[in-house]
């Protein structure tokens, strides 16, 4: 009889949802009741909305249980493990029980995420059992030379997943063509886009996949040293990378004379970022590794010619690297068979915001935004109306609902004014104010500007001031035009991608939601009822119990009415701070 296996998802998101306690509970009962099942760890399978996730594999099949707290763990042990009767109500996916949520996995094609949630990321043997390090072995055993490897990457049509979308194979070719005694490979794991977490998930779930991609790149361009530049906010990713590097060194997959290839030496170091979004930009990243302030510099020379310590350097994103072993192992044609004409393969998206089933999904390029949100993501949360989706983070833009038939590939997304970026998809419903979102992003870029270019440093600040003024009901005629003018100047007057794209969130929201800007400026109204300063607060006399919670909270004594009497708000005194709304337990404060 096959032994039952219990696998607990212990990615950062799982742990935040309490998976650590769930794991301990399984461990405790296993020891206490002397149960004979195997308890294993894995990382996130992407179904973040049902964390903590536990997969049980026994003779009859595999069952994925969702939201397993210690109490549910006890029940699952009792019924499923001891008595072989699975509990359908808690199951989110299984071949044996159709569930409403299985649609989350339908239509997904997992290449970059092929190992995430399916193996123990801290165990190199499990990676090898899933064709790990088989791609680099294929290269070694078939005596493929670096040019052949690069040609395969070019043929796959792979484009960089860090946002720019440049052909990965071409980039490798440039770096290979420069002759130098020392070259470097850098993995960009700075993932600065707030609202995207695919790189974190990949690093936590498949660290060896990233290492193998970097080793192959090292062989192809002729580099002997690699760096992974990882955000300090990702402690678990750093820990697992360290474990993976140690294991790979022990097995002789990192070090000297690797895989029987003569003169092929390669080793990898981790550099922890120190918290600056602009360090995701490649020249700033290099400056940061060299120990300087992370300020971008002019290109050319590109890093392929003069990068780290002035040596030829190839920089790729985490998701780019993790795709490489798959492409080499399965052949470039298999990869190029997926996707659209100019965007091949698959892309990982982080679905967040007002979506029912938020998480990580990987789909072939060319799927429509609508299909991703409705088929995989289950639609909008709480029965609200879909308004727009923000793609590409601070460099991207808002795509309105009526363009949701847009296919996700580099060129179609660019045509809307947004960018593909790293793959963050923040869904917004009717209660999200797009002017406020534009203000939010400008606040971000304004803080993160390194200060080198005047337009980026001061222009973003001025734009932020105008947007803040509009959301506070002090907008003036001409503000929209002023924003547009500033936006174009900042785009033209900035050296790096940060400034060149910083105005995008403003330009796209003006393009698609100009009427909302006008409502804020002319009518002093926020159609989404989100900008506090533009709301009128009223007490619903029916619902008010006269508990006085709002009266006590009001900083300006604008609320009148005694105990157990309905209250009312003196509109002339009210400063629209919104405290009464948060204090009221009965939903009696109405907004209009």
């Amino acid at each position: 009889m096959k032994k039952t296996t219990v696998i607990v998802g212990l990615g950062s998101c799982g742990i935040a949802a309490g998976a650590g306690k769930t794991f301990s509970e399984f461990q405790r009962i296993k020891a206490a009741d002397k149960l004979d099942f195997e308890l294993k760890k894995t990382s996130c399978v992407g179904m973040c909305f049902r964390e903590p996730l536990v997969e049980i594999i026994d003779e009859s099949g595999s069952y994925l249980y969702g939201q397993v707290d210690p109490a549910k763990a006890d029940e699952i042990i009792e019924k499923h493990i001891k008595n072989f009767s699975p509990i359908p109500e808690y199951i989110v996916q299984s071949e044996r029980f159709p569930t409403p949520e299985q649609s989350f996995f339908e239509g997904q094609v997992k290449i970059a995420l092929r190992n995430c949630g399916h193996m123990d990321p801290e165990n190199i043997e499990e990676y090898e059992a899933r064709n790990g390090y088989a791609a680099i072995r294929k290269i070694a055993n078939n005596f493929m030379n670096p040019d052949q490897v690069i040609q395969m990457v070019i043929d796959s049509g792979m484009r960089g997943r860090g946002g720019g979308g440049f052909s990965t194979g071409m980039k490798w070719k440039f770096a290979r063509n420069y002759d130098a005694p020392q070259k470097y490979v850098i993995c960009n794991a700075d993932e600065g886009d707030p609202g995207a977490f695919m790189d974190r998930s990949i690093l936590e779930g498949d660290p060896h996949g990233v290492l193998e991609g970097m080793i192959i790149c090292g062989y192809a361009i002729g580099a002997s040293e690699g760096y992974i530049y990882c955000r300090a906010e990702y402690p678990l990713a750093i820990k697992r990378l360290n474990i993976a590097i140690e294991q790979a060194r022990k097995k002789g997959y990192l070090g000297k004379g690797l895989f029987g290839i003569e003169h092929f030496n390669f080793d990898i170091k981790i550099k922890e970022g120190a918290g600056a979004f602009v360090c995701g930009e490649e020249t700033a990243l290099i400056a940061s590794i060299e120990g300087r302030r992370g300020m971008p510099r002019r290109r050319p020379p590109f890093p392929a010619q003069s990068g780290l310590w002035k040596s030829p350097t190839n920089i790729n994103n985490v998701e780019t690297f993790v795709n490489i072993p798959w492409i080499i192992f399965n052949g470039p044609q298999a990869y190029a068979a997926m996707g659209t004409e100019k965007s091949k393969g698959t892309k990982v998206f982080a679905l967040t915001g007002k979506i029912k089933h938020g998480g990580l999904v990987e789909v072939p390029m060319g799927m429509t935004i609508r299909d991703i949100i409705y088929n995989l993501g289950g639609g909008i949360a709480n029965g609200k109306k879909f308004k727009a989706v923000q793609l590409g983070g601070p460099s991207g833009g808002c795509v309105p609902e009526y363009l949701s038939h847009t296919q996700v590939d580099y060129d179609s997304v660019n045509a809307t004014g947004a960018i593909m970026g790293s793959g963050g998809m923040v869904v917004m419903d009717e209660t999200t104010c797009v002017v406020d979102i534009a203000r939010f992003f400008l606040d971000f870029t304004q803080k993160e500007s390194c200060g080198k270019c005047t337009f980026c440093r001061i222009g973003t600040k001025r734009m932020l001031e105008i947007l803040t003024r509009i959301t506070q009901g002090e907008g003036q005629e001409g503000d929209i035009e002023l924003l547009e003018e500033l936006a174009h100047n900042i785009k033209d007057g900035s050296l790096c991608g940060l400034g060149q794209t910083a105005p995008n969130p403003v330009l796209t929201t003006i393009k698609y939601f100009r009427d909302e800007y006008e409502a804020h400026i002319r009518d002093k109204k926020c159609p989404a009822l989100s900008c506090k300063k533009l709301l009128t607060y009223k007490v619903d006399q029916e619902k008010c119990t006269g508990c006085m919670a709002c009266t006590k909270g009001c900083p300006v004594d604008a609320i009148e009415g005694g105990k157990r009497e309905p209250h009312f708000i003196l509109q002339e005194v009210c400063i629209k701070c919104g405290v009464c709304f948060t204090k009221c337990k009965f939903g009696a404060i109405q907004l209009s």
Binding site: C48, P194, G195, A276, G291, G358, G393
Partner: protein, 173 residues
């Protein structure tokens, strides 16, 4: 621009607790003379003291030969480095896009109110430093906050308060 972080407004000089500078000797020995050592040196110093004391800057400068202006310039550029002591627990409120859309601002306001501090400040009892950060990478559990190494997701103002109060209670024991 980031440089603003040095001193948003003139603050009364706080007496810095004196520190045992010999604690960073082994760190200096490890990195001295290596290329790209500046940031690891600062990170190591901060790990030991919880912040980078003025005297430590001077020692790093005299022991490694790195210029003082470079050390200070780098320390003020990156968000990670602190030049003043932090509270015992660091509360990081995620103000990334996903958390913003899920109204994290209301939660932050509630906590700032309760702790009677402003963003980036430390409570008078030295227990908490609260600061807003860009994204903690748990966006699908938004709104999110991180206290020390532990991440809390799907927060409401009430729950966030409960967690803080509990830490305070445990510390009082």
């Amino acid at each position: 621009m980031r440089v603003k972080r040095i001193a948003p407004e003139p603050v009364a000089p706080v007496a810095e607790p004196s520190v045992d500078l010999s604690l960073i000797d082994s760190l200096i020995a490890k990195y001295k003379g290596k290329q790209g050592n500046l940031i690891p040196l600062l990170q190591g110093t901060q790990e030991i003291f919880g912040f980078i004391p003025r005297e430590a800057f001077l020692k790093l400068h005299s022991d490694t030969g790195l210029s003082l202006s470079e050390l200070y310039g780098v320390a003020t550029f990156y968000a990670q480095f602190r030049l003043t002591p932090s509270g015992k627990h660091i509360i990081k409120m995620c103000h990334g896009t996903a958390c913003h859309v899920q109204s994290v601002t209301a939660i932050t306001d509630e906590l700032l109110d309760f702790l009677e501090v402003k963003d980036g400040e430390t409570t008078s009892d030295g227990l908490f430093t609260i600061e807003t950060v860009a994204c903690l990478g748990c966006c699908s559990l938004a709104p999110v906050m991180m206290i020390d190494e532990e991440t809390h997701g799907k927060l409401t103002p009430k729950e966030a308060l409960k967690i803080i109060k509990e830490i305070r209670r445990n510390e009082a024991l």
